[in-house]
Symmetry: C2
Subunit: 420 residues, 2 copies
């Protein structure tokens, strides 16, 4: 018996072969058609989305989840605009990565080629349905989209609109397919469709990502969890430090590149922390701290509770922050290596040698010197698009854009060479 | 309770931090010391290896496995020489992959950094113990080596010799550690040591690789299975074709880049196949074929049995080969996409457009034009070293050398930038 995923993935493989042979112009036409069709079907999309929202409200789903689920004309316009922006980016397929001619005359060329079929497993946000599909199309791969049942109606309409746009430019509709979200078994099938699916990317909660990584025999790229730190060195410029802390923590607390812990060098803690803590309090941040930080907080009348061992490794995702006083730069690195998730670590210092030592001792996807942790982001880093932020070391580390969504092949051209 | 792997991996993480900070000169000194110590301890190594061989013979292990297990002075000299060759290669750590300055003044630099702790799970060959360790040391990562119990004594001595060599140059011994091979649970522990182990690479049988890929929650790189094809096009130069077929099949039939299937364009089959089949028979190759190939074989008095459906997807690993007659280049691609393992596919043709079409329709780690499949090999392709051949699309595809054994980090340098 053929499973739901086998049917979808087999169709996706055939369609992916056609897409792999498509020119940049073909792919860009498809992306622009998707943008046009999304705008043209706005009311249909909003009606389906409204169904999802009403059902979710009836089921008592939290307002923050509803907020992520809800679409409006502005959001649809942004999604459509995103597709056009990706159309404007260079084609990641065909790039020559390495090239050499060997002594025996063999010519070696390593070129970027599409993955083939890529599965996405994600949660409520319906924009991911389009964002992921358009990035994958541009990267030459077929997308199997497994969103959450919460957004089932929205995703259904979005995928149908994309498929008709794709067909309108002469590419096969099956390069974008929606995986049924009616039961959890479709996720398991997708994660074990070895040979049919080349890669699965999870996006969402830590629990979702953990399930995907644990259960998958298809290669996966882990995205997600960020317990990011800002370390204020003894040689920090305080005028830079305060905005960096506030921006890292408060700009968008729910995302993975928001900071969870502030570490301060003991030599400057008494002078610097009162300013920093007041600034954080002004933003409504609830503070957890070690005994030294609490002492300083008390001295300046700022409320702070004792941080538990668990707090130091917690991704709050809200306006809460840990504050620790460390003996020196090495202690900061040690703390980060113990409690961090190898996502983004920031140091504020005017000393180049301290910055270099911090970098050498950090083990993270991104290390910031005198900059907010919030810059670990595909758009911000000039990738032009982002399908997620890899939190693993294999294949891609940090923001993943179009280039990260390709694999490679070696093309070896000879004139009859054999191995001696 | 701390498991065997937790103890080893925690020590490896600490040692890996020191290794990550080591200079190229430090690492090269360690590799050359390993070469010296291996030669100096030759008799000790051979005695331990002899114990493994005698025990394996008593257990009735096959002669081909014994052959892979057995060391002799020449093999030890080759292993030592391999370590020196890797010392002579450029440092893969610190390479700048991408670099740009954003409009807001942020300077972005993506640099190659070590993985951290890498596990190897492999079978009888004790040379893998040293080969893998020296590649990983040069790439700045600590190695956890889980060889087979068959080679337990050899591996124990080899690892001890390497550890004393490493200590002699002032690096921590724990950058190379042997995982106990007494029971299978150590493999499972290694595969699930998330957060402690950054990557696991399996090397060995298809069954071993499958187990690692299925059971691991640590990221893995799948190596291995190769059902490679040689396609002789209607525009092939027969003088090139015959040596390429013989070399691809017979040069070393047991390895993954050996060919298993010969496909011939129907227009030239009657003329070409008699020559090719006789050449294969002269090498002692047992032939399986489709009905058209069998007919031609009969006409020239060459024995050939009917290939079963299973045969076409079998990695023989010995002197057996499938022979098929195909309607055209597209049929060859279709056959390869159906039965191949995306490893290495070779076309013999003088037509550049046919070669280009074959490349565009193939989905493999390496595609050869007028060259033997045997060239998919790190040494042959000028990598200088090889830790295995990746048969997956994630991270590395094809031969993996030093560069493939690194990950990356983004270093972002600013002057107080925050996100608007």
């Amino acid at each position: 018996m053929t499973t739901h995923i086998e049917t979808l993935a087999s169709a996706a493989r055939l369609a992916a072969r056609v897409l792999a042979g498509a020119s940049r112009a073909d792919k860009d036409r498809a992306l622009n058609a998707i943008a046009d069709h999304l705008l043209a079907h706005e009311s249909e999309i909003l009606a389906a989305n409204n169904e999802d929202v009403l059902r979710s409200q009836a089921e008592g789903i939290t307002e923050s989840l509803i907020d992520r689920l809800r679409l409006n004309p502005k959001r649809i316009a942004e999604i459509a605009n995103g597709a056009r922006q990706i159309a404007a980016l260079p084609d990641p397929v065909g790039r020559v990565i390495r090239e050499r001619t060997l002594e025996n005359g063999l010519h070696l060329k390593q070129v970027a080629v599409p993955f083939g079929v890529v599965g996405m497993v994600y949660e409520a946000r319906p924009n991911v349905t389009v964002d992921a599909a358009v990035i994958l199309i541009k990267a030459g791969s077929a997308a199997l989209l497994r969103g959450s049942s919460t957004a089932a109606k929205s995703n259904e309409v979005l995928v149908n609109v994309m498929r008709s746009a794709i067909t309108s430019v002469g590419l096969p509709a099956d390069i974008v397919q929606l995986v049924s979200s009616h039961d959890r078994s479709t996720v398991r099938e997708l994660l074990n469709a070895r040979g049919l699916v080349d890669l699965v990317i999870p996006r969402g909660s830590a629990a979702l990502i953990r399930t995907v990584v644990d259960e998958s025999s298809v290669p996966t790229i882990e995205t997600g969890a960020g317990v990011c730190h800002v370390y204020i060195d003894k040689d920090a410029d305080f005028k830079k430090a305060i905005p960096i802390i506030i921006n890292s923590k408060c700009h968008r607390p729910s995302v993975c590149n928001a900071a969870e812990t502030l570490l301060v060098h003991q030599e400057v803690a008494a002078e610097f922390l009162p300013m920093a803590l007041k600034a954080l309090k002004d933003q409504g941040v609830r503070l957890h701290g070690d005994t030294q930080a609490i002492q300083i907080a008390k001295s300046c009348g700022v409320e702070m509770i004792l941080a538990t061992e668990e707090d130091w490794s917690t991704e709050y995702g809200i306006l809460e922050m840990n504050v620790g006083v460390v003996a020196d730069r090495q202690s900061a690195n040690d703390h980060i290596n113990k409690y961090g998730t190898q996502h983004t670590e920031s140091i504020v210092t005017e000393s180049q040698s301290t910055a270099a030592a911090f970098i050498a001792n950090a083990d993270a996807a991104a290390i910031m010197v005198n900059a907010s942790t919030r810059f670990t982001d595909g758009e911000q880093m000039g990738f032009g698009a982002e399908i997620g932020i890899s939190n693993q070391k294999l294949h891609a580390r940090g923001p993943m854009g179009l280039e990260e969504m390709t694999t490679t092949t070696w093309i070896v051209t000879g004139s009859g060479q054999i191995r001696e």
